[in-house]
């Protein structure tokens, strides 16, 4: 799946989250499975779920991390794929 730059990432209704010492715990209440994002993953989660588009989220993360855009977009694409696969987010078409 190509990175949906113009789309928006929306947390699933079934997901509840809590930040614990910089990490973010995500619980899918439908499946009962939970996941922990480390500090970098937590910042990506925060940027993705609070930005109007994936592109904007990448811009925010580029400003925070010393990384080139291509590498960041690859990581974000993998993260979105994993989050979608686990029913944690939905991609709202932009």
């Amino acid at each position: 799946m190509p990175l949906p730059l113009a789309d928006r990432i929306v947390p699933s209704d079934a997901v509840v989250t809590r930040v614990v010492n910089g990490a973010t715990v995500l619980l899918n209440t439908d499946t009962g499975r939970y996941f922990t994002l480390d500090e970098i993953g937590s910042q990506a989660w925060a940027a993705l779920t609070s930005s109007p588009t994936v592109h904007d989220a990448c811009d925010r993360l580029l400003a925070e991390f010393d990384v080139d855009r291509a590498e960041l977009e690859r990581d974000i694409e993998a993260l979105i794929a994993r989050l979608t696969e686990q029913g944690l987010v939905e991609v709202a078409r932009g």
Binding site: T17, V20, L27, Y34, T36
Partner: protein, 367 residues
């Protein structure tokens, strides 16, 4: 040794990380879990340099607490919203409230259930609301003088997701049942914003009073660190005005000895500083357990029969005493069938006889 190390870690005593490396880690973790302190220990250790093997083991033991709490929080919000929508004024109390009002994160305060207090007259509406949300009531001894609480459980695929302990009085022993009425707690209740616009918990003086009393009245004076730590957190944030309300309440209800013992345990384990205005108050300093019937409950070996006799004494009329005796001896047939012979056709008189014999032994036996 483990108890000492747990409290030392919580208090931030230097050198604890080194002591942990030298200790039997499995025994320590087991003790921390049993004392309800594992999440707090894991949280404390996350901010100090500690052996990586120890850190990994502690975090692994504690990792499930956050996820379990996230589910519990979501359910509790639903329950509170639904009760409010049906016009039920509920107050979240005990650990379920303190988790949000006095702990850095709610998952740091382990709890098996969410305790809710509702007005006695709202009990039926609360029952129907919970059942409508998919909760199943536990079978319990019925009788308006035997128990002032009912447990409701929500399960999914055989897994218990959330348990609500619905109370319409604060404790079951008659001596403590009216220690604080719903009206008193409700009038001073404070919002708990994280749990929604309708969520409220007891005021600080009421919460401290309940924390001191609950451990003794409901748990036979069990000195679980988690309950003592609750007292520490509450006492550490009280204002002078709140201490005054607390002292008046404890003196008026003749439960000062119990409250003083709770604060003494808190000071012993967590270094709680009781302000001079409290320590020097004659009602506190000279509280005499012999003048307070409630103080008899400060005894781990207390037999259940003593509690029953205390219940009889605390009731106002002989008709109530007779009713309590009957409710204990002869619960309804449906309850007897479900608890004592769910899959047999044993005659009811035999079940009542069996209950009487077994109950007599349990009531006389000491803890």
């Amino acid at each position: 040794l483990s108890i000492d190390l747990i409290t030392a870690i919580v208090r931030g005593v230097p050198g604890c990380a080194d002591r942990l490396v030298r200790t039997d880690l499995a025994a320590f973790l087991n003790a921390a879990k049993q004392q309800g302190m594992l999440p707090v220990i894991a949280d404390r250790l996350s901010s100090v340099t500690v052996d990586s093997g120890v850190a990994t083991a502690v975090q692994a033991e504690a990792s499930g607490f956050v996820a379990a709490d996230l589910y519990r929080e979501r359910e509790l919000r639903r329950v509170l919203d639904a009760l409010a929508a049906r016009g039920v004024r509920a107050v979240v109390f005990k650990g379920a409230a303190l988790a949000y009002t006095h702990y850095a994160r709610p998952d740091l305060r382990p709890r098996d259930d969410s305790d809710l207090l509702v007005p006695p007259e709202a009990r039926a509406t609360a029952h129907h609301t919970l059942v409508g949300l998919g909760y199943r009531p536990h079978q319990h001894v019925t009788g308006d003088l035997v128990s002032y609480q009912a447990i409701y459980e929500k399960t999914q695929n055989g897994v218990v997701l959330h348990v609500v302990d619905l109370h319409w009085r604060v404790a079951n022993p008659q001596l403590f049942a009216d220690a604080l009425s719903f009206e008193e707690i409700d009038a001073a209740a404070q919002p708990i914003a994280t749990l929604g616009s309708s969520a409220r918990g007891p005021s600080a003086p009421h919460a401290l009073f309940l924390a001191c009393v609950h451990r003794v009245a409901h748990h036979r004076d069990e000195k679980l660190l988690m309950w003592i730590y609750d007292i520490h957190l509450l006492a550490s944030r009280m204002t002078a005005g709140e201490w005054a309300v607390f002292l008046d309440l404890a003196a008026r209800r003749k439960m000062m000895a119990i409250c003083r013992q709770g604060l003494a345990l808190s000071a012993e384990h967590f270094g709680t500083a009781v302000p001079p205005q409290v320590a020097e108050d004659s009602r506190y300093a000279h509280a005499d357990a012999r003048e307070e019937p409630s103080a008899a409950f400060m005894n781990r070996d207390r037999a259940q029969l003593s509690t029953f006799l205390s219940d009889l004494q605390a009731l106002a009329s002989w008709s109530d005493r007779g009713r309590l005796l009957k409710q204990h001896l002869c619960p309804p047939p449906a309850y007897m069938r479900q608890v004592y012979a769910p899959s047999s056709r044993a005659p009811l008189p035999a079940l009542y006889m069996w209950r009487a014999v077994r109950g007599a032994w349990r009531w006389i036996a000491r803890a």
